[in-house]
Subunit: 344 residues, 2 copies
DNA sequence: GTTAGCACTCACTTTAAACGAGTGCTAATT
DNA sequence: AATTAGCACTCGTTTAAAGTGAGTGCTAAC
């Protein structure tokens, strides 16, 4: 099942054309293209072969051909000439990092936004798993007699905060002691281990030094128990509504309902290997994603993988452009983050 | 233009029926209702009058009647019997506040989610304007030689954080001095005034005590300049897609594109007076909201208005239920927040 | 004042016909 | 042997016409 050069060319043109127009491609319109100097009849013969091999298919008997999933897969694996981005694209991507003072979350969010604007698809960014980060510092700042704010800062500069209740008997001295003990014992520990460590290592110490040991211990442990999972950012969901494949409102609704399940989409995106990853249609193993492709790219700091950026679009996606954009952005993100967080 | 009791009854039944079914209501189906013991012909006469007065209208000559905006308005103002919520509804709302340790943002977000689930409409919650809150404490926590995290805590327990660059020459002592000066001078000031105050009151002091005065001053001022506006939370956008009035994908797209403009929606929601507020269709003064009604309620801490919760639905909305839910939730929110933040 | 009856309206549904983009196959051409 | 012109055929889409039915307005009778 080897394709001739001519079949390759025809397949490529069919895919390109369909990506552009969303209309089934007929033999006559192909024969008019510059790249192809064959009669429509010859093309029909080749198309019949391509169809037999499963690369293209007909929506109905008398219509033009449409790439099948297998066709897209072949196109992505073998026919894709990486699109050279123009200077404007490049400078837009780089504008994400232009601001001097920046927040990690801001960058991630802006990345998602810009990516969706540049592609007219939906972009999804999975932030780093905060709970593998190591604790840099704990602070507890009292607001009034009963309430205080607990703040965790990680070595990556991520800040988590929770409101905690203070025991009535707690005085400023006790609070300070508690914070000191916590910092002393917990600094450097991954956030995910805080809860355990508090009971194992901090409990005793607190008991010795603090009046309202019990209440406080419990409260603090609870506060730090809440799993801090990766944050998920979306941009350009509305773009889906402009695509002809989603003119059916039920399809859109099903897709949106799936997307709203952050749990599910996190798993979908997280479990991808490093580098660029393309999942076409049913490769995503979910019926609502049948008409969608998902392209993911990971970003890192140094050698440590931090998160994923993804583009969700129709199977009829501009693979070449999207891949180039993701490559560029993930590289830039990685280099900025490496610079920022890896000089200890 | 005073309505007779019979006209009132008919109007009410028409609106109720249309809210339920989304289908134009005909005279015959009305005459079959228990509440109404009149022949269809009589009802037709009354309907003709109601139409002449502008309370109902016909989509086309030979169709049943549909409430007009004026009809909804009258219904909301005069015919609405506040729906008594059942125990299940009440306990669901109260479950929002069940958790012991809670974050303001978490509560707000959960409120939005639950509200949208209970109503099957879209809920929007506008958080408090953080920049009128007063500064409780500033902390700057160095991550490495070049970077630090600046943390602002307000008297309401809200935490803002930014990454800042440190001057190369900065040592631990300088940093501590800076933080002390900042806290000393800025505590109690509204966040919105920090930027000005830094130049007016802090600049001099820093100059006297800190080595790399210039770089630091600038950096800090910039860090605190970024306007911290009210956060906006959405839930149940997808619910719109199940409504028959939004079977037209273009309508949905226009609405979603409008909603995505946070700026715009903030203004729409913010500028409402205290208490419950109902805007029907074109009263929202935007063409994409023509088929939508927006019901808003404010929540406060003590006497200070903090934010707004809103439900966006079709003009054919279950006004009674939504108003009851919003009333309950805004009251509960207010009482919890008052308890929490008003015991200084 | 109320109601039964009837002609009328108009969106929606159904059916049939015409259209046209595209195919597969065959026979002629290169 | 590969290519192409020609032609019958398929089938979704468009257009037109006819039929259906929910609902109305009006009038005359109760």
């Amino acid at each position: 099942m080897l394709l001739t050069d001519r079949q390759l060319l025809i397949l490529q043109v069919i895919v390109d054309d369909f990506i552009r127009s969303a209309q089934p491609v007929g033999s006559r319109s192909l024969s008019k293209k510059e790249e192809i100097s064959l009669s429509s009849a010859t093309i029909r013969n080749e198309m019949a072969d391509l169809e037999e091999m499963g690369f293209i298919e007909k929506p109905h008997t008398s219509s033009g051909r449409v790439p099948s999933e297998k066709g897209y897969r072949y196109y992505v694996d073998h026919l894709l000439s990486p699109q050279v981005l123009n200077n404007q694209d490049i400078s837009i991507i780089q504008s994400i990092f232009a601001e001097k003072i920046f927040e990690f979350e801001t960058i991630i969010q802006r990345s998602a936004k810009i990516l969706s604007e540049m592609t007219n698809y939906t972009s999804i960014v999975l932030g780093p798993a905060v709970n593998v980060n190591k604790l840099k510092k704990i602070q507890i700042i009292p607001l009034n007699k009963e309430t205080a704010v607990a703040i965790l800062v990680t070595d990556t500069g991520h800040v988590e905060n929770r409101t905690v209740s203070l025991p009535a008997s707690m005085d400023a001295g006790d609070l300070e002691k508690t914070v000191n003990i916590l910092n002393d014992r917990l600094s450097g520990a991954p956030l995910s281990e805080l809860h355990d460590k508090i009971y194992k290592e901090v409990a005793m110490l607190l008991k010795q030094h603090i009046h309202n040991y019990d209440f406080m211990l419990h409260n603090i442990a609870e506060t730090f128990k809440v799993p801090i999972s990766e944050k998920l950012f979306f941009a350009g969901k509305t773009n889906m509504l402009t695509l002809p494949e989603f003119h059916d409102i039920d399809k859109v609704r099903n897709l949106f309902m799936m997307i709203d399940q952050e749990e599910w989409i996190s798993n979908l995106i997280r479990s991808k290997s490093a580098g660029i990853n393309v999942k076409i249609g049913s490769e995503n193993e979910n019926s609502v994603m049948e008409d969608c492709s998902l392209i993911t790219a990971t970003y890192s700091a140094g050698t440590e993988k931090l998160g994923t950026i993804a583009i969700l679009g129709p199977t009829r996606m501009e693979y070449s452009r999207v891949i180039s954009l993701l490559q560029l952005l993930s590289r830039d993100l990685t280099s900025v983050l490496t610079r920022l967080y890896h000089l200890k």
